[in-house]
């Protein structure tokens, strides 16, 4: 293992170029009209992190409201039940559509994937920019719907409530429609990029696993998102013209809406988690200094997760009035998802086994991910089992489960990836100590907040309820305190990262000794990514020492 240093190519052995993608052109206009995938990735990053901040504030409000059954703080009722419904809806809609779905693919994927492929840009740079502006338009529409009456349907917009309630539901669905097209454009771009823009020597099985994950995600984005578009268009028409497709009073079927919605939204769960897994597949070999164990198995498991995600959506409809036959089929198929997930899990552990593990901040997030995703994934099996799900449906158990997968999985991986590629994106190193402290606090706060909710849910606390019985108060209070710890950890992490921006460029080209191509260019990269067309000489994750020439 003492040979590892020799496998770090280009670590500061070249002078830093004076012009990079950040300072080559100046002014706000050069950013707004850029077609450089790196700049678009950075703009996406700023956007999704702002959405994360807003959604996080709403989450803290939700938790604060539930601190006591009377919802009072210092003798005053914090928010009314009506407002509470709006707040949790906005939390869900913002986090899902504005933050998590674009977070890893559109922000980090945009920046890193072409670099990993040794390409100069994504396949369709202008489409990439269009996708970003659609995201901005969708975000503006979502904000407008908040101002003009808000939405209280939950992020799932279930009929018949969503077609009868007041508020700006139509505007919100149109916002999500637009965001869907933003996501489709990203997906089209990435599939075409992976197919056609790989550098010489990079075959399909020479691609880093991050690219495999993003590629699988892009397939889902292309094939599932259009159905969301048509579903929301129908919902809007139902609200405006009462066309009666989902309205049983007019001969329609509300369960049809749930089929339509989850045909997108279940694969969308994999749009969220696959990129998270993809990041972990980068972090673990890099910080274990070891070849990826079972590279092909992990690559195939990404694609098979993407395909499986399309045939399990009915497990969201177990108590919605779906037929028993369909319930049984969907429940059985749901268990299949455990196979590729397990393959990934064991391969990550196999990679770490006897590796030379260094616990830098990204690796701490990767280990957090392994622990949290294991809990999130295994509780998913409870929920996929028909008989237990009937009892656990719409309780805090479900809330805890998907927060373990979405936040404990994707968001933790996203923050880990952000730390990992931060030196490449900004050219600056953050303070390692504070990064690690942040990671620990986030991990503790997360478990305080959401582990509690498994107990709440199994005791029967329904989700989305404003009122609750006094007996749940201790657990609710503990969860609320946990949300403050979590908030503190995230705040510390954000402060640490932002503080590094004040420094001059100080990051080496390859601070972690990574083997993928993005570490071969300078930090931050030049506008066209590489001085010369890079050629892949070694397979990714090849940490074997260089053969010594005799």
């Amino acid at each position: 293992m003492e040979h590892t240093l020799t496998t770090q190519p280009h670590t500061g052995d070249r002078p830093r170029p004076a012009k990079n993608y950040l300072n080559a052109e100046k002014g706000i206009w050069s950013w707004m009209t850029t077609v450089d995938h790196k700049r678009i990735g950075v703009m996406y990053l700023v956007g999704v992190l702002s959405a994360f901040f807003v959604g996080g504030i709403f989450a803290l409000i939700v938790r604060l409201t539930l601190l006591t059954p009377s919802h009072k703080l210092f003798g005053k009722v914090l928010i009314t039940a009506q407002t509470y419904n709006r707040v949790f809806t906005l939390h869900g809609a913002i986090m899902v559509f504005l933050f998590i779905i674009p977070s890893v693919p559109a922000a980090l994927g945009n920046f890193v994937m072409p670099l990993m492929l040794g390409a100069k840009d994504v396949a369709f740079p202008r489409l990439n920019l269009a996708s970003f502006y659609l995201w901005v338009l969708g975000a503006v529409m979502a904000v407008c719907s908040m101002i003009f009456g808000a939405v209280d349907t939950g992020w799932t917009f279930y009929t018949p409530y969503s077609t009868t309630t007041d508020g700006a539901v139509t505007l919100m669905t149109m916002a999500v429609f637009v965001l869907g097209f933003s996501s489709i454009f990203t997906g089209i771009n990435f599939v075409a990029t992976v197919h056609k823009l790989r550098a010489p020597g990079i075959g399909w099985f020479d691609m880093p696993l991050f690219v495999w994950g993003i590629y699988s995600t892009a397939i889902i984005q292309v094939l599932a998102t259009p159905v969301l578009g048509i579903t929301l268009a129908l919902l809007a028409l139902e609200r405006v013209f009462s066309i009666g497709i989902f309205d049983p009073k007019l001969g329609g079927d509300p369960v049809l809406f749930q089929h339509f919605f989850w045909f997108y939204s279940h694969p969308a769960v994999y749009i969220m988690i696959l990129p998270g897994m993809a990041i972990i597949s980068e972090l673990i070999p890099t910080f274990s200094r070891k070849t990826m164990f079972g590279y092909r198995a992990v690559a195939y498991s990404s694609v098979s997760l993407a395909l499986l995600s399309f045939i399990v959506w009915g497990h969201h409809l177990f108590v919605a009035g779906q037929s028993q036959l369909a319930n049984v089929i969907f429940s059985a198929l749901t268990f299949l998802v455990a196979i590729p997930s397990g393959v990934k899990m064991f391969n990550w552990l196999g990679t770490m086994y006897k590796g030379n593990i260094s616990l830098e901040t990204p690796m701490m997030y990767a280990i957090s991910f392994l622990l949290l995703f294991a809990i999130g994934g295994l509780t998913g099996i409870f929920l996929g089992t028909l008989s237990t799900d009937v009892h656990l449906t719409d309780t805090y158990f479900v809330v805890a489960h998907f927060h373990y997968v979405m936040m404990g999985g994707t968001v933790i991986a996203f923050i880990g990836g952000l730390h990992y590629w931060w030196p490449k994106m900004t050219g600056r190193m953050y303070k390692e100590f504070w990064g690690q402290v942040g990671a620990v606090i986030v991990f503790i706060g997360f478990n305080m907040t959401f582990l509690t909710q498994f107990f709440l849910g199994s005791q029967g606390m329904p989700r989305r309820y404003y009122n609750y019985l006094d007996q749940y108060q201790p657990l609710h209070a503990f969860s609320t305190v946990g949300s403050w710890v979590l908030g503190l950890g995230l705040f510390l992490t954000a402060a640490n990262l932002l503080a590094s921006l004040r420094k001059p460029y100080d990051a080496p080209d390859n601070p972690w000794g990574g083997t993928t191509l993005e570490w071969q260019t300078s930090s931050p990269p030049i506008t066209h990514n590489f001085e010369d067309q890079p050629v892949l000489e070694k397979a990714p994750y090849d940490y074997r020492p260089e053969p010594v020439a005799h």
Partner: protein
Amino acid sequence: MSTDQIIQHEETDADHEPHSSGVYVKTLIALLILTAITVGASYIDFGAGNVVIALFIATIKATIVALFFMHLRYDKPVNAVIACAGFLFLGIFLMFCFIDFGSRDGLRPVNWNGKMPVETAAPAPAPGAAAPANK
């Protein structure tokens, strides 16, 4: 290898892609004939077979359009794979929705006897007959 390969590739393209309008004229004629057949068949009563015949002919027509007008026959296979994937996942969507809708037993009341509840309930507006489904 690069330049040679590309030049060679252009040659193979030139071999395959139709450079005369003959293929397209034939394609159009075939499509028009199929349209005439499908319209004609709709005037004959095959029972449930009508929908099957109509969709079968439509699929033939769609395949012809995809193969010749959209050049899939001459194109790189990846494009055909993408096109098939679209229809494949649509098929998955359709299949599972039909499994649900086809096996639901709650669309009508379980004991619905084929008569109109309104008609059966009408002659007996007695206080106890509030719910015909309870019978």
